[in-house]
């Protein structure tokens, strides 16, 4: 039982490490939101699943399940609210230098601030 919980928690910490690397390395705000909202939810759920396996069937374990359920609901909703606020206040994705950019619609003349 303890070995299984250790393995599951190790996978969870791996996904949390992926979150940190993505938040530091990715360009632009929206790619960072993508890194945080998905891998962080999965990492936290795996960490708490490992704690549940360590704990067994107790009241504390049920509260861990409640935390997993709440975070799986709240974390994507929070990321969506934050991204919607960013879009409505005019943050643009960073421009790339690919040739397909010539086909993209032109930016607004006021720099995208709406």
């Amino acid at each position: 039982m303890n070995t299984i919980s250790f393995i599951v928690m190790s996978f969870g910490f791996f996904f949390l490490l992926v979150t940190v690397i993505g938040l530091i390395r990715l360009p632009g705000f929206f790619t960072r939101v993508h890194a945080v909202s998905k891998s962080e939810t999965l990492g936290l759920a795996l960490v708490f699943a490992g704690l549940m396996l360590h704990e067994g069937m107790t009241l504390v374990s049920m509260k861990y399940a409640l935390i997993i359920l709440f975070v799986a609901l709240a974390n994507p909703v929070g990321a969506h609210v934050l991204t919607r606020a960013a879009v409505r206040t005019g943050i643009m994705p960073p421009r790339t230098r690919r040739p397909s950019d010539a086909l993209a619609p032109p930016q607004t003349s006021d720099g995208g601030i709406r």
């Binding site: 949390l16 504390v60 935390i67 934050l82 919607r84 960073p94 790339t96």
Partner: protein
């Protein structure tokens, strides 16, 4: 309890990595994103600290409360910035080339 000490230390190191984006993030939204991520990491850190202090039945309530407050705080600040554009950082420019 040794493995829980290592896991908590690893989480604290990861939270210092998130502080890079919290301090240097080019705009207020990047900082808010990093702050929310630090709050989410703190939930797991609180649950691990319960095993360090050998009181997981008490610390799980703290973790659950922190999860609720973290979500409410992020949504409140995001909605406030959406409705009050004058409160954003001065001299904001739209993001250009990456980095």
């Amino acid at each position: 309890m040794n493995e829980f000490t290592g896991a908590a230390g690893f989480l604290i190191v990861l939270m210092f990595g998130l502080c890079y984006r919290l301090i240097l993030g080019p705009r207020v939204y990047n900082r808010l994103l990093a702050a929310g991520a630090i709050g989410t990491f703190a939930i797991a850190l609180l649950a691990l600290m319960g095993y360090l202090f050998e009181r997981p039945d008490m610390f799980v309530d703290l973790a659950l409360t922190y999860a609720l407050l973290n979500f409410i705080g992020t949504v409140a600040v995001a909605k406030y910035l959406e409705n009050h554009p004058e409160e954003r950082e001065p001299g904001e420019q739209p993001e250009g080339i990456a980095e």
